[in-house]
Symmetry: C2
Subunit: 274 residues, 2 copies
């Protein structure tokens, strides 16, 4: 049992699945949205395969309705369409509140068989050349102390390209780009569902534009394009448009074989000093 | 009444909205997915504002469950969260079939007030330099005859950059990029909801990689970033990863003032000759 498989443990419960959120995956008191995404995808994959459908997440689009907190969590998948090559589903993640429950996230997923889409490669984009992990800066040394103390950061070994870490010393480049490496701190390798977590695991790219504080996600869409090879994952985050405090954050993930295995875009809300 | 406002006409009906799909917006027998998206956003905006919520689509994420056909259509919005600055909703688009109905699309939307996010611009990307519309190639002359005869293409005046139109003569560049201009054929200007239609209105970018035939959308996520100024819209489509017949298609839209007003990513399924 690794730290991540432990966090993604679910038991059948009525029409859905029951699990537990912990502060081990929280930043401050809010459980990371990427963990909710991986948890939701786990539940959908199990409901889908139990009905003879597909197992690998191809697309994940979610809206975040309230921050997840430590405690019990319910995941309710609904299969919308069972096709020959793909299964489409909706999923709701909620937590008990008073006599009822409060929804944390709702999402739409497409599942398929990732091995079908490995080859041939008609077009791709290579990972940028960056220093190897041992010459990069550990993310735990870089962000403000409130983040450093979060459980979430301790779950990862993240190494930032020194060229994109100026913001940690109060000197954001203004380019809106972060690059680096990521793996789980306990050494476990990530699978297709774990990539959803990876896509939201780096510091916000808005830090490189000088934003301060928390950067809540409005909407997140991630595509998993391949099963990752074991080892370090390389990440590149960038934004193409930030205005009035809203920005897109695009993330690309390459595995240790150099293959693009996931990419995502989220709309996020950032605070910029006047 | 313009061609687009006519197509987006909806009447209150029970818990949702009722409208009509026509072949005027179809490619072959399938009503364009972008029209379904604009129709769904129209219904959500009306339900939202009727409840005191927001009107402008900020994010739209949809999965396509079956192709829309000419005939009656129902749109059922569900408000998930009414916040101070944003309203979040789910929406289902369906059509009658036999004694019941069949769902065409399900989507998650975030609505807000776009004027709040116009300034200041912290970072953006400029439109590429391309020849003016009068020196570009009309899309109606370019695609295969089946597309040329579609109602959908007649609704637009689309002009393709000659540098990215080689595929129409059987010589795709392999770059995976299309550039050009777009406006409605009847001269009406596009608003924020119309931008959702625009994001899916160009020929598939996979044509520039040599794909043939229909390119069904698996998932589509579009962000509207600003209210477009009147006049021509400039579009750039590109893909960063196409493998095993699945590719992302990213679209960027700039208005006549040069502002990035929308961008999207879709996962689509394309057929490549062996």
């Amino acid at each position: 049992m690794t730290e991540l498989t432990d966090a993604l443990r679910l038991e059948e419960s009525g029409t859905g699945w029951a699990g537990t959120l912990t502060n081990d995956w929280a930043i401050g008191d809010a459980v990371n949205g990427g963990l909710l995404m991986s948890l939701a995808a786990t539940a959908v994959a199990r409901s889908s395969t139990a009905a003879g459908g597909h197992a690998d997440p191809l697309t994940f689009s979610g809206v975040f309705l309230s921050p997840g907190a430590a405690g019990p969590v319910r995941v309710e998948p609904q299969i919308l369409r069972s096709g020959r090559s793909m299964t489409t589903a909706q999923v709701s993640v909620s937590q008990p509140a008073g006599d009822g429950s409060v929804e944390r996230m709702r999402a739409l997923l497409t599942l398929g068989d990732l091995t079908r889409y490995a080859d041939p490669v008609q077009k791709t984009v290579a990972a940028p050349e960056i220093p190897p992990p041992e010459h990069c800066v550990s993310a735990r040394d870089a962000p403000p102390s409130t983040l450093t103390e979060s459980g979430f950061l301790k779950r990862f070994d993240a190494r930032m390209d020194p060229a994109t870490i100026g913001w940690a010393a109060g000197e954001p480049s203004g380019n809106g780009e972060l690059r680096g490496w990521l793996r789980l701190a306990d050494g476990a390798d990530l699978d297709a569902i774990g990539l959803l977590l990876v896509l939201d695991a780096f510091p916000p790219v808005s830090f490189d534009l000088g934003s301060v504080g928390w950067v809540p996600t409005v909407e997140f869409t991630g595509y998993v394009r391949g099963v990752p090879a074991p080892g370090w994952l390389q990440l590149r985050l960038h934004t193409e448009h930030a205005a009035g405090g809203l920005l897109n954050e695009d993330c690309q993930v390459w595995d240790s074989s150099g293959r693009l295995v996931a990419h995502s875009r989220q709309l996020a809300s950032a605070r910029f000093p006047a």
